[in-house]
Amino acid sequence: MMRFYPGCTLSSSAKPYSRSLAWVWKRLEIEMAELPGWTCCGATAAHALNRDLAYALPARNLAIAQELGDDLIVACSACYSRLKIAQKALENPQTRERVAGVLGRALDGRVQIKNILEVLSAHAPRIQKEKTKALEGLKVACYYGCLATRIPRVEGFDDRENPTMMERLVSAAGATALDWPAKTSCCGASFSVIREEIALKMCSQILEMARRCGADVITTSCPFCQYNLDWAQWALSQQDGQKPKIPVLFITQLVGLALGGSEKELMLGANLTPSPFPKREGRRCSPPRVGEG
């Protein structure tokens, strides 16, 4: 069975992600259970200050999955990256022994860590078959950010600097995937807290690029990217009074829309940038028709 590692953000700032993800899982009849007793992967903080923790914290979760004999599915790009990097570092027998000693658990490094994009892509044919017309004509900029694909010395699920998995998925869901150059640019990550103006500048550049390429929507699989791009537009609108322009959707929200999910089921209202999908009868959503906006 597949075990799901949600990560800390999915129960708070990325709540719409976990809600829409659960909906999509149910709709596609994918069997998945949360990893029991999971704990934080340490994120940037651990590897910034204490590299022992940067390996031990993810290793604990790997050990739990290993004891269950299950694959690990990870939604958050940062968690995915930390788990992968820790697994690679644990190939060093000295590091492995030390970490296993601290954890009091055995580590064999055999756990398969999969990104959510891989799982969704595996179901792309089914999504294509069962999609509604909800996304027809919608131009989508797929935004990967840094950590999903750029993991040093680890073979990823896609190209590091020009990944295309999300584009294929979005096309299968019936939307038009744009070719745009900022898909693996950095959104500034924790700088949106530490030094707002820097993150704001980085996000503005990405948003401007998306706008110039004609994107109606940006979609991403990373909670931090979604939050930062969402927040940046909200913050800019507070500064200059202009309304946020490009909605930023989690990939599961977009796929969910294609599969007939409602705004409420997919928690679209929780995004800081308002959804572009005008409500129809029965709270179903549809994109703006061509020529309307």
Binding site: K15, G42, H47, A54, Q94, P152, R153, E161, F191, V193
Partner: protein, 204 residues
């Protein structure tokens, strides 16, 4: 051996603790070209690496470069010499703190420390708790109030997160005291897989 600026031991020290072949850097500048934070850095990664090679310990550890590094790993995957540059930045950050240099971004250190302390106490991070504690630390308790309210209103802040004390033991073993501080030099050789390490030794 003394070089122009300092001593060679510094290069060896950084290489041992990061497990990365810093001496291989030949100033191709790809790291600096791709770095989104380069405009804010006193030294771009390649400049920093040259200073390490020259042994200018003070200039390196007092630099703001590794504090502005956002760990996007662009440099690491582009380096033609296969140096995990972002990982070396982590090593430098730890060393700089241990040797008592003032962090160029004290709020970054505070943020990361508070983050780890939340993890230690609760097993998972509550963003609400983290932001509240961070605001208190900066003595700006009402900073980002409007944003917080907006997130709360939309159901994007968890008020009562699940907590577990499971990680206290791990933190106790891996940090010198209850607050998460740096452990530079206490651990084992890091980073690379076994094969790569051997290969690197042979090449030297």
């Amino acid at each position: 051996m003394k070089t122009l600026a300092g001593d060679r031991q510094f290069l060896k020290e950084i290489e041992t603790h990061s497990g990365e072949p810093v001496r291989r850097c030949f100033q191709c500048d790809r790291c600096a070209t791709g770095c989104p934070m380069a405009p804010y850095m006193q030294h771009t990664p390649n400049e920093l690496f040259r200073l390490i090679q020259l042994g200018d310990r003070r200039a390196v550890l007092a630099s703001n470069a590794f504090w502005f590094c956002v760990s996007c790993y662009t440099c690491s995957v582009r380096c033609p010499n296969d140096i995990d540059i972002a990982h070396v930045m982590d090593t430098l950050r730890e060393l700089s703190l241990r040797e008592g240099f003032t962090p160029a971004l004290p709020q970054a250190r505070d943020f990361h420390e508070l983050f780890l302390d939340c993890v230690r106490r609760s097993g998972r991070v509550s963003e609400l708790e983290l932001m509240a504690r961070y605001n208190l630390k900066l003595r700006k308790p009402f900073s980002r109030f409007a944003l917080g309210w907006e997130l709360l209103r939309k159901g994007r802040l968890e008020l009562w997160p699940k907590r577990t004390g499971e990680l206290r033991k791990i933190f106790k073993a891996l940090t010198p005291n209850p607050s998460p501080v740096v452990t530079y030099g206490r651990g084992v050789p890091q980073g690379r897989g076994e094969g790569q390490k051997e290969q690197y030794k042979e090449q030297r």
